[in-house]
């Protein structure tokens, strides 16, 4: 009895340690990836639909007047502000594509922000503020003031405002190279967690952007958000096929990040696989010994009317029990480790580097894995136990 208890306690703690590592690694990698993804995709649209690029005009036969022309180089045409045809209809069509969650038409382009003697180049984005916020969360990233773009209100990136020396309530002139531009009142500063955007963003209403950039009533792009981040490329292709326009997903623009994430995921899977294998093998080895140790008891039970199936069940149950108890310990251990690391890994300002992804799904899958490993590992010893000859088992037990 004592040996069996020690044995079971040891194996349960072994399974617990394995599952603990599994939970910890998964939470670590999961949290890291979620945080990376959030930083990358949080500040950009999942899908950006833009007009096709202008291509070089073919040389017409008439121009040659019968002479032979040798083309050393086809010069790319200047990509002048290109607008989307029938953007209202286009926006409606895109929003109806499967897995597209929200869309927003954009009037955007380069401009200059002028204040006193300084000027900074800015990226003007004009859009309906509520719809824009549904595609790229801006409201929750407001560092100061509010996300308001009514009338002549503008929201600037925090670093841009800093460079220009403006604060909420100040005025700033935005102009293009050609026009005089307009005066805007700064209503808010936004921190997108990305220096490139913080130094250039100027958010305004669609109408103001159209006027400023001399687009008439046109839009230059449609931004879209999809339900599943990793399905963005599929949705982007669907949109491209449907509209015949350029449709790029974040996955295309961040191919390097994506491949890094993918290889990370693959290595996590491998670690999980090996942990699973180790857990299964150790449970199996303990049960094999247990069957030998308990063969006398098995013989007695069989003599008293326990069926083979009954013996099989007992050992499968033991495997399942070891797995379940081990996973309970492992989940606790993994959570503890994760929380410890999370409190140890901090940014310079004391905030956690990134949150570990300790989700209920992770615990459920860890428990499922351990339970499955326990039952599968118990299969062989259980079969052996159920096939023991009762008379033999009692004699040698």
């Amino acid at each position: 009895m004592w040996e069996q208890r020690t044995q079971n306690a040891l194996i349960v703690s072994g399974v617990g340690a394995g599952i603990g590592v599994l939970v910890f690694i998964s939470a670590l990698i999961g949290g890291l990836q979620a945080s990376l993804l959030e930083r990358t995709t949080g500040a950009q649209a999942h899908i950006v639909v833009t007009p096709l690029e202008l291509e070089g005009r073919p040389v017409l036969a008439d121009d040659l007047r019968g002479e032979i022309a040798y083309l050393r180089r086809i010069e790319r045409p200047v990509q002048r502000m290109n607008t989307l045809p029938e953007w209202r209809k286009l926006d409606r069509n895109i929003s109806e594509v499967a897995s597209v969650l929200a869309t927003v038409p954009i009037a955007g382009g380069p401009a200059l922000a002028v204040r006193g003697s300084t000027d900074r180049s800015v990226s003007v984005i004009g859009a309906d503020p509520d719809r824009f916020d549904r595609v790229i969360a801006v409201k929750k990233r407001m560092a100061e003031g509010t996300y308001s773009v009514n009338g002549s209100d503008v929201v600037l990136g925090v670093d841009l405002a800093h460079d220009l020396g403006v604060a909420v309530g100040d005025r700033v002139r935005l102009k293009t190279a050609r026009g005089d531009g307009q005066m805007f009142i700064v209503r808010g500063l936004v921190d997108m967690g990305n220096q490139g955007l913080n130094k250039t963003w100027a958010l305004m209403s669609l109408r103001n952007a159209q006027t400023l950039l001399e687009l008439g009533g046109a839009a230059t792009a449609v931004y879209a958000k999809v339900t599943d981040l990793y399905e963005a490329d599929v949705a982007a292709n669907r949109i491209a096929k449907l509209t015949g326009l350029t449709s790029k997903s974040w996955m295309e623009t961040n191919a390097q990040l994506l491949s890094a994430l993918k290889s990370q995921t693959a290595s996590t899977r491998m670690i999980r696989g090996f942990v699973l294998l180790t857990v299964a093998i150790s449970i199996a080895s303990v049960l094999v010994v247990s069957v030998i140790q308990r063969s006398k008891e098995i013989g007695i039970l069989r003599a008293m009317g326990f069926t083979r199936a009954g013996i099989l069940r007992v050992f499968l149950l033991q495997g399942a029990l070891i797995g379940t108890l081990g996973s309970a310990i492992g989940c606790g251990l993994g959570a503890l480790l994760s929380l410890l690391f999370q409190s140890a890994l901090r940014n310079a300002d004391g905030s956690p580097l990134f949150p570990f992804a300790l989700t209920p799904g992770l615990f459920a899958s860890a428990a499922g894995i351990a339970l499955g490993a326990g039952v599968v590992a118990a299969m062989l010893p259980a079969r052996r136990a159920s096939r023991l000859d009762p008379a033999e088992a009692m004699r040698h037990g």
Partner: protein, 234 residues
Amino acid sequence: MAESVLELLGVEKAFGAGALTNIVLRDINLRVDKGELTAIIGPSGSGKSTLLNIIGLLTSPTRGDVRLLGEQVAALDDDSLTRLRSLRIGFIFQFHHLLGGLTAAQNVMLPLMIERGRRSEDLLERAMGALTEVGMAHKADARPSQMSGGEQQRVAVARALVKNPPLVLADEPTGNLDTENSEKVFELMRRYNRERGTAFVIVTHDNRIAERCRRVVEVVDGRIQEDRRLDAMS
């Protein structure tokens, strides 16, 4: 003629194969009637235990027929044999073979639970009844390690008889008990035999036990050497 509980017809048992074949039992013909108290004696290695295992459906014979309460068992699969064993046969082993992790009451209840598939209050009552009959009710909550050898064997008798089977097989039931405890255990078996008409087949080395059985079967070299009935015993 009395009703038969058990019949063996031309039973042979061999272990191994080819040149290494070892024939342990040859041409065994044995019939045990309802209510008979039979002792099987013989030297070590004569095949007594194998014979008992065949009677107990724990081992199948190489040749010959076994009938339990008129039912031919050769054609039955393992599950049916197990069910038959569970319903018709009680076992008492030399080393009591109680489960160490369970109390006396739980050990006695075990055959009932195996049949019913779960535990319940009435099963515990039946187990307590059986323990009372063997005079072990006061140790109901004790584990085997907390009981003497004689007490353990009395609990094993209670376990074998709790389902009131028509046939009880005992393999050296007093093999490792002192005289006083042997006496107690044998008396218990005899009482059940008298009061309930339970048939007993007892494999024993102990002549004092064998002498007090109404029938003694002697097995030598795998054959039944002698089968004598002693009358006027009571």
